[in-house]
Structures are given as structure tokens and as C-alpha cells.
């Protein structure tokens, strides 16, 4: 009896195993048990052990290649003896060449740059179904893969190739054991039934099902719930394009389609030929031994070699010689005919010969143009060949590329024989295989040429990487009294000074102008003394365009400098979409939205701060007020950083007390948040600590004695230094809360920060409910860093907790000295009004990118709690108590 691939196509392997006898079940259990034991023992083997065994098996396979080919021909009555010998040799020698230097035991690959190592873990017991078409070669191939990967295999050959396969398994198994492999590493089912397969497919100790065969078996494997490698049916479309070398193409197609009488499922099924070369190609086929069927003969073939009911090939034709097929169906052909070529005029069930034919019958289609040819190839591809193999003969790279785009095939073979090309390692550098993955469209889990790496579980050992950090600051910072004189060193044709009305009124603008070259055209753009709105930015950009500015001097507090940063951005890159650039992100370096790098204008931005707090003169941040939505939009990118910062205290000597306090606390908040940030580094710590020290020492003096030049100078420096820290370490949850609260109730930023600060220190110093993932820090250190601050300030205390309490107390004391209201309630905001605002403020605070670097990940409920603590206000006992 000759069983056929075609039979398998229509047979679903039943999963019911009730019909198995107890004796049969015991037999199957014995097979699994011995395989399981062998696989367990195999885990102790080294790479050298398995390589030695593999080499011995390959040599044994080569030695018996002809013997096994003969057995296969005798038993299956399919294919060509000589080709089966070649297949057996490819399965051993070519596979060996591919695997011999591959590491499959222990560490198999290392990626030092990524701190990643891959370690092999065997699968254990593999159930392997092998086909009738390539019986012994598939067994040899899978045995080599299994030993190379330290797995045990139970083979279940197609029933009509059992004898040759079991002999191949015996030869491989005996050789392997002789050279040290565990006993029982291979076994072969004795005359199995479909129920045997169903039983084994569901066996708990079978780790993987590897099916090379018909669709019924593949579906059964995938339906079993086990991991499976099932490879699908093919229907290889070939495009013989007009630029191809027709002589080579015709020979390649004949080699491939007649190889082992067409039993390789990657072999050519329908050749679509451009009109220009159609006659030439058919003449060549004919000259080289193909019989070109006339219309009547084609109809005979359609009726006979394809089952009209199922559309699948008839078993009697599979793997038979062209002359035998012709004889079976009653065609008269020359005795040396290699191939029957049948012209067809369409694809699909109505054109039976356009379907898969694992025998030397080839359909050809005459295409009037490339577009038609490609469409017909797609039709063939979709007529049972999805995911498998496609072939093109062409010298036109554009057509080859187009073909590869439209064809759904795991292997697209170019200018070479389909079947041998798909096997790999002969005509190309594909991985050698006897199992073609067909991807999801073919109902498979892979499009790969199945190889040793599919027989491994690959473990990835991922060592912690040392995260790259940064410390980026503006190119130039000038500081101390009269530093503004440095403006003169920057050449400019046209400078726009952005400032606010008060600063112009008190003469600060004139001071700056004195240091600008007389040759420079200077325009003063006065903007409202408030956090910038979109419309202010738009007007500013129009001014910059009008004066063709090549230099912008931002003279003012954080609002003016922020406005100037955004004006510069829009002036240089008009396409910048502020709404998009403000999109939330988790990690600055992985953000989705990128700031523009192409600039149509260029202007130097010199920032001269007139308050000592925001540090905007050196930061990459800018805050816009979105009045319509009652929120602040934070833009963050190093391209926003001013080019030059001039930190001249003469501009802050007249700063009012309230503003001195507000901005001073803003500065302190920056430094404290940068100090405990997850992005903190020794570089930012040094700046943060110094800024904190300066604030605690000089802010009370600057507040009480505004004309004290030393205090003003030090606070001005402190603000800039703190900004250098938080420009690189970012801020934290304090800012997220303050942004939301400040925008909702119109409270100045520094003051809004002050309400939150003691509570946030206590919050961050406590054990987090939720830790913030942080590759930059080792362990949770926020409380220890607060303690270090306390030490720096000489606050005393013996334990970390004690020091944190003292820092909170010192902060509260500082706020008291600066006359801050110590609760939001003191601002006259009623509890009811605040309660109504809290849900929206919480959402806004949670959306604020500021807290992404906070050491403690804030839960929304915790943000609510912090808002209420700030509302209720003062008291160290309350603050500390709440944190415990």
C-alpha cells in the first residue's frame, strides 16, 4: 500500500485516545519514560560531548546514505533513488557544516555591550512526525538536531515509511549511544496509529511536537495544547520575468521540479512567464526534456492528477516519474520526458493544476505584463501556499523587491531552484533544513527554516546595566556683580530683548543695552509680567521674524526666560507643535516626541535672570500656561537651554521681599528634589548640596536685608547652581503638586512649592508604598540623602530618622522666617472649594512629568493625601506623624 501526503491533508488526527488498549498505553508510556530519563541524563553533557557524538552520527549517516535511500524507495515507491541519496547526504553533511561550530550547550551567545548572555536549555522529550516524501533524510536531520541540543526524540514516521525511518533511527541511535549519548535517546513507534500520536501529543512529559508532514498532523499538533513546530503545505509560485536568464531559469526549474520526482514541498508548482519570453521559455523546456501539453492533454491531467472533490493532488501521482504519470492518465509522451508542462489560464479550484502537485507536473501561465504576473503569483500563493516558498527569476532588482513584498512566503528564492534553494546551504545562505516554517498564514509558529535553535529553550541572562547618565549645562555662564558686561562679546546684527514692563521701567533694560554694540539693532519686546501664554509666544515669534533677530536677550524672571525659550524654538523651527512637544513621557531619552533639529532661523539666546529661583537661565525646561484648560504645560528638552547665562546680582537687588521668599523657596525645592531624584548623580549632588547650603544660609539674610549684596549674590548663584542640578536630575512630586495647585488657584510657583515642601520631604523619607523603578540608583536612598543634607546644614541628630525630622523642622523654620502662610487654608480657599478641585488637580499632578524622577512613585491616593496635608498645613508633629 502506498499512503500519500494527500491523504494526510484531509485527515484530522483524532484526539480521542479511548480506543488505545492498556497494553498499547503501557508501551507508549515506556517510550516516554525512557526518553524522559535520557533527556534528564543528557542535561549533564558538555558541548564537547555532544559535538563528538554528532560528528560520529553524521559520518554514520553519510556511510549509510545509499542504503537508507534504497530502503525508502523500496518501501514508499516514491521519488528517485539518486536524489534520495543526495537528500540523505545533505541532511547529514550540510546540516553538520551548519551546526558544527554552533554553541548549543551552556552559554551559546554573549552580548557584552548589552550585558546579556544566552544560555541553552534543552526541551527534553520531542515527539517528531516525519513525512513519507522525505523519510530518512528528515529522520537523519532531526536526530542530528536533537543530539546537538541534548534532547530525546520519539519518532512517529508516516506509516508507509516506517521501516526505512525506524532503520534510520536505529542507525542514528546506536551510533549516538556508542559514542556516549544516553540510552533511549531515540525511539521509533512501532506501526503506530493516529491514536498513538494523539496520546503522545497530549503526554505531560512530551515537551515539543515537531511535525513535518501533512496538514492534518500539523493541525493536530497545534490543537494538542503543546508547543509545536508544524510546518505547512506549499504551492510555490514562480515568476519567470522577462529580464531573466531564460536558459539558467529553465534548467533550474527542471532540476528542482524533477528532484526526487517533485516530492519536496518547496518545489515549483506554477510558473508565471512574461509574454515576451513565454515562447522561448517553453521551447527551452521542450528541448531539455519537458513535454508541453496541448489543451486536450492539460484537461486530461486536470481530471486525473487532482482530486476534483478536494482540489488536492491524487495519491497515485505523488513522487512518480513524468513518464509513469503520463502512462497512468493515458498521455503519449517521449520515453525521456522529465516533466509535464501544462499551460493554464487561471488560478484556483476551477484550474486544478494551479494547486500543489508533488510530482513532475508543472503549470505555466502566460502573463501580458508584470502587473498581471505578480497578481497571478499572489493568487497561486493564496491557493494553498501561504507562508511557504516563492521563486523569482529576474535581473530587475525593483521587480524582485516588489515580488518579495507581495508574496507571503518564508523563503523567496531568487534565480535558483525552488526546492533545493529552500533546503538551504546549496544555492544560498539559508539555514539548511528539512522543515519549512510557513508562519502564521500557513498555520505555523515560525517562517524559519527549522533548525537547532528551534530545539532549544534559550535563557537570557540579563545583568544590570550601568545606565548612561549625563550632566549637560549651557556653554557659558557668567556670574557675580556686573557680569552683564559680557553681553558685549557676542556679535549680533539684530537683537530682541524680551522683558516685562516693570524691568523696563526701573532701568534694567537700559543697563543691558549699554553693553550691546552700537552697531547692533536692538528692539525691546515687552511682555506681560505673568507666566507665558501661547498668544504671547506667537506675538514674540512674529517680532523675531520682523526684526530678523540673530540674538534674543531674555531679561526677567522665569516667566520671561521661559517665554523667550519657546519663542526661540518656534522662530527657529516654525513647524514645532507645542501641544505635541508637551506630550507626557516617562524617560527623557525614550520619549516618543522628538524636538526639531532642523532650523530655518538661528538666534543666540542670552538669559539674564532678575529673580533668584527658577534657574531658567540654565534649564532645559519652559512652562507655558494653558488658561483654557487651567493647567501648565511643561516643555523639556536640552535644545531649550539658553546658549548663555548671565547671573548678575545687580538685577535682583531691588527684588521685593515676597518675591525673594517665593523664588528662594523655589530654588530650595529644586535643590532638594534634585538631591533625592532617581536621576541624581555625583555631578548633580554636588550642585544640589551646595545650593541647599547657600539657601539656608543666605535666603533669610536676603529676605531681611534686600540690599545685602553678598546675600543677593549668593542666592542668585544658589538659584543657578540648583538649576544646574535639576536640569540634569530633574525635580519630583513637589513640583507636580505645585504645578497643579498653582495653576488651579493662581498661586505663584515658589509659594505653591512652599505649601508642599515639608510634607514631600516626609513623604519621600518614608518607606514607599510603591518604589519607582530606577536603574540609576542602588537601593532606596532618599531618606539617607535628606540625612546627608541635615549633616551638611549641621542640624544634628544621630539616626537617619532623626536627621530627616531635623531637616523638616529646619525647612519649616525657614518658611516661618520668610513669613509664608503655612496652610493652603490660610489663603482663604474654603475646604469645599478645595475638595472640589482636588480630583482634577490630582489627575493633572499625576500627568505632570515632574514626578517621574521622584524617588517614590506616587499613588493617586497619595497625591490626594499630600494635597490635603498642604491644605491643613503646619506642624512638624503633624508632618512627621503623617509619614509614619
Amino acid at each position: 500500500m502506498i499512503a500519500r501526503e494527500a491523504e494526510q491533508k484531509t485527515v484530522q488526527v483524532p484526539l480521542a485516545v479511548e480506543s488505545l488498549s492498556a497494553e498499547r498505553i503501557a508501551y507508549l508510556e515506556r517510550l516516554v519514560s525512557q526518553a524522559k530519563t535520557a533527556a534528564a541524563v543528557f542535561t549533564q553533557f558538555t558541548q564537547e560531548d555532544v559535538d563528538r557524538i554528532v560528528k560520529a552520527m553524521v559520518l554514520a549517516g553519510l556511510e549509510r546514505a545509499q542504503y537508507l535511500a534504497g530502503l525508502a524507495i523500496e518501501e514508499t515507491k516514491l521519488g528517485v533513488m539518486e536524489d534520495k541519496v543526495i537528500k540523505n547526504m545533505v541532511a547529514t553533511e550540510f546540516t553538520y557544516n551548519y551546526v558544527k561550530d554552533k554553541r548549543t550547550v551552556g552559554i551559546i551567545r554573549e552580548f557584552p555591550d548589552r550585558n546579556l548572555v544566552e544560555v541553552a536549555e534543552p526541551i527534553g522529550v520531542i515527539l517528531s512526525l516525519t513525512p513519507i516524501t522525505n523519510p530518512t533524510s528528515t529522520v537523519l536531520f532531526k536526530c542530528i538536531m536533537a543530539i546537538k541540543t541534548r534532547n530525546a526524540v520519539i519518532f512517529s514516521p508516516h506509516p508507509s515509511s516506517w521501516r526505512c525511518c525506524s532503520e534510520a533511527v536505529r542507525i542514528m541511535g546506536e551510533t549516538a549511544v556508542k559514542h556516549g549519548a544516553p540510552e533511549g535517546v531515540f525511539s521509533c513507534l512501532e506501526s503506530h496509529t493516529l491514536q498513538d500520536n494523539a496520546y503522545l501529543m497530549r503526554h505531560k512529559d512530551v515537551g515539543l511536537i515537531d511535525v513535518t508532514g501533512g496538514q492534518g498532523a500539523v493541525k493536530a499538533a497545534y490543537s494538542s495544547g503543546k508547543p509545536a513546530l508544524g510546518v505547512g503545505a506549499g504551492n510555490t509560485a514562480v515568476y519567470l520575468e522577462k529580464t531573466a536568464d531564460v536558459n539558467t531559469a529553465v534548467v533550474d526549474i527542471i532540476i528542482s521540479k524533477t528532484f526526487d520526482n517533485g516530492t519536496i514541498c518547496a518545489s515549483e508548482q506554477t510558473v508565471v512567464i512574461d509574454d515576451e519570453i513565454y515562447d522561448l521559455a517553453l521551447r527551452k523546456f521542450s528541448e531539455l526534456g519537458a513535454h508541453i501539453c496541448n489543451e486536450e492533454e492539460t484537461k486530461v491531467l486536470e481530471r486525473t492528477v487532482i482530486d476534483p472533490q478536494t482540489g488536492f493532488m491524487q495519491p497515485m501521482a505523488v513522487g512518480q516519474k513524468a513518464t509513469d504519470i503520463a502512462r497512468f492518465v493515458g498521455l503519449s509522451v517521449q520515453p525521456n520526458t522529465k516533466l509535464l508542462i501544462a499551460p493554464i489560464h487561471g488560478v484556483g479550484r476551477e484550474h486544478p493544476l494551479s494547486m500543489e502537485k508533488l510530482f513532475p507536473v508543472l503549470a505555466v501561465y502566460r502573463a501580458r505584463c508584470a502587473d498581471e504576473a505578480l497578481k497571478v503569483c499572489v493568487d497561486v500563493n493564496h491557493a494553498g501556499g501561504l507562508g511557504h516558498t516563492a521563486v523569482i527569476f529576474s535581473r530587475n532588482d525593483e521587480i524582485i523587491h516588489k515580488f518579495s513584498e507581495v508574496m507571503n512566503a518564508g523563503r523567496i528564492i531568487v534565480n535558483s531552484p525552488g526546492s533545493i534553494g529552500a533546503l538551504g546551504a546549496v544555492y544560498n545562505d539559508l539555514v539548511p533544513t528539512f522543515s519549512f516554517g510557513c508562519g502564521t498564514s500557513g498555520g505555523n509558529s515560525t517562517t524559519d527554516n527549522v533548525n537547532v535553535f528551534h530545539y532549544l529553550n534559550i535563557k537570557r541572562v540579563a545583568r544590570r546595566t550601568q545606565a548612561h547618565m549625563w550632566f549637560r549645562v549651557p556653554d557659558q555662564i557668567y556670574f557675580n556683580m556686573n557680569a552683564v558686561e559680557n553681553v558685549r562679546q557676542f556679535p549680533s546684527q539684530s537683537t530682541v530683548i524680551v522683558t516685562n514692563p516693570a524691568l523696563e521701567h526701573i532701568g534694567h533694560v537700559d543697563i543691558v543695552r549699554r553693553h550691546i554694540s552700537p552697531q547692533t539693532y536692538v528692539h525691546v519686546l515687552v511682555i506681560p509680567d505673568a507666566e507665558p501664554e501661547i498668544k504671547v509666544v506667537v506675538q514674540g515669534v512674529e517680532t523675531l521674524h520682523f526684526y530678523k533677530a540673530d540674538q534674543i536677550i531674555a531679561l526677567g524672571g522665569g516667566s520671561v526666560i521661559d517665554a523667550a525659550k519657546i519663542m526661540k524654538l518656534k522662530y527657529e523651527s516654525p513647524e514645532a507643535d507645542l501641544e505635541e512637544l508637551a506630550a507626557p513621557f516617562l524617560d527623557l531619552r525614550k520619549r516618543v516626541v522628538q524636538y526639531p533639529t532642523e532650523k530655518i532661523n538661528r538666534a543666540r539666546l542670552i538669559a539674564i535672570p532678575t529673580t533668584s529661583g527658577t534657574g531658567s537661565e540654565v534649564t532645559p525646561f519652559a512652562v507655558l500656561t494653558d488658561k483654557e484648560r487651567g493647567r501648565k504645560v511643561t516643555l523639556a528638552d536640552y535644545s531649550l537651554s539658553p546658549d548663555v547665562a548671565i547671573v548678575d546680582p545687580q538685577f535682583v537687588l531691588t527684588m521685593p521681599k515676597g518675591l525673594t521668599a517665593d523664588t528662594g523657596i523655589d530654588c530650595l525645592t529644586h535643590a532638594l528634589e534634585a538631591g533625592v531624584s532617581n536621576y541624581a548623580s555625583p555631578y548633580t549632588d554636588s550642585n544640589a548640596m551646595q545650593a541647599i547650603r547657600l539657601v539656608f544660609k543666605y535666603l533669610p539674610i536676603a529676605y531681611e536685608h534686600p540690599r545685602n549684596e553678598e546675600a543677593r549674590c549668593m542666592m542668585h548663584n544658589a538659584a543657578c547652581i540648583a538649576a544646574l542640578a535639576f536640569s540634569n536630575a530633574s525635580v519630583g512630586v513637589n513640583h507636580a503638586l505645585a504645578h497643579a495647585f498653582g495653576a488651579r488657584f493662581g498661586v505663584a510657583h515658589g509659594r505653591a512649592n512652599a505649601f508642599m515642601l515639608p510634607h514631600v520631604i516626609a513623604y519621600n523619607a518614608a518607606v514607599p508604598t510603591k518604589f519607582m523603578p530606577s536603574p540609576y540608583q542602588q537601593g532606596y536612598v532618599a531618606h539617607k540623602k535628606y540625612a546627608t543634607v541635615a549633616d551638611l546644614l549641621g542640624l544634628g541628630g544621630h539616626t537617619v530618622d532623626e536627621k530627616v525630622r531635623k531637616l523638616i523642622a529646619a525647612t519649616e523654620n525657614l518658611l516661618d522666617q520668610l513669613g509664608f502662610p503655612r496652610s493652603i487654608a490660610e489663603l482663604g480657599i474654603s475646604r469645599e472649594e478645595f475638595e472640589r478641585a482636588v480630583p482634577e488637580m490630582t489627575k493633572i499632578a499625576f500627568d505632570d512629568p515632574s514626578w517621574r524622577s521622584n524617588p517614590r512613585m506616587p499613588l493617586m491616593s497619595e497625591l490626594v493625601e499630600l494635597f490635603w496635608k498642604a491644605y491643613q498645613g503646619r506642624g512638624l508633629a503633624k508632618v512627621v506623624g503623617a509619614s509614619q
Partner: protein, 91 residues
């Protein structure tokens, strides 16, 4: 009733005969059989089968089998062969 234990050093080159000898001593053993695997780097399929048989016989006689000095490679083999749970392990 006094406890009688089997204490046996297992030589990697003769695991199977060693277990057979130990099996013979099980008749007179009460309590536990301690098999020292310190010098066993690898076990093969025959040894694994012998261990399975030995622990089966021991359990039938109410004798607890303790493996000492088992290296992690051998331990993993016992886990994969689903035999580890049938033994006790000591250092």
C-alpha cells in the same frame, strides 16, 4: 526499637552495583539509608533506573533514602526524571 542505617559511599564508576549492594542491605535496615553522592559528578540512564528501583524497594520497606553530597547537575537530572521528590537530601 533501635535504628539501623545503611551508610554507603557511591562511586561514580559503579553506581549500579553499589545500589544493588545497598539494596541487599535493606532487609536489615530500619530508619534510613544514606547514600553519599559526593564523588558522583554525573549519572547515566542505568544509574537513574537503579536509583528508581532502589528507592522503590526502600519505600516498600519503610526505609527513607537520603542522598548526601548531590551536585546540582545530578540534582537537576533527578528533578527532570521526576525522582527528586522520592529522596531526602542532606549536605
Amino acid at each position: 526499637m533501635g535504628m539501623t542505617s545503611v551508610l554507603l559511599n557511591i562511586d561514580e564508576r559503579r553506581v549500579v552495583p553499589a545500589l544493588q549492594e545497598a539494596g541487599e542491605k535493606l532487609e536489615s535496615t530500619k530508619g534510613e539509608a544514606v547514600l553519599d553522592f559526593s564523588s558522583v559528578c554525573r549519572i547515566n540512564s542505568s544509574a537513574l533506573r537503579a536509583m528508581e528501583e532502589f528507592v522503590g524497594v526502600a519505600n516498600d520497606k519503610g526505609v527513607k533514602v537520603v542522598l548526601s553530597g548531590v551536585n546540582v547537575g545530578v540534582y537537576k537530572v533527578l528533578k527532570l526524571a521526576k525522582l527528586a521528590s522520592r529522596f531526602s537530601f542532606s549536605k
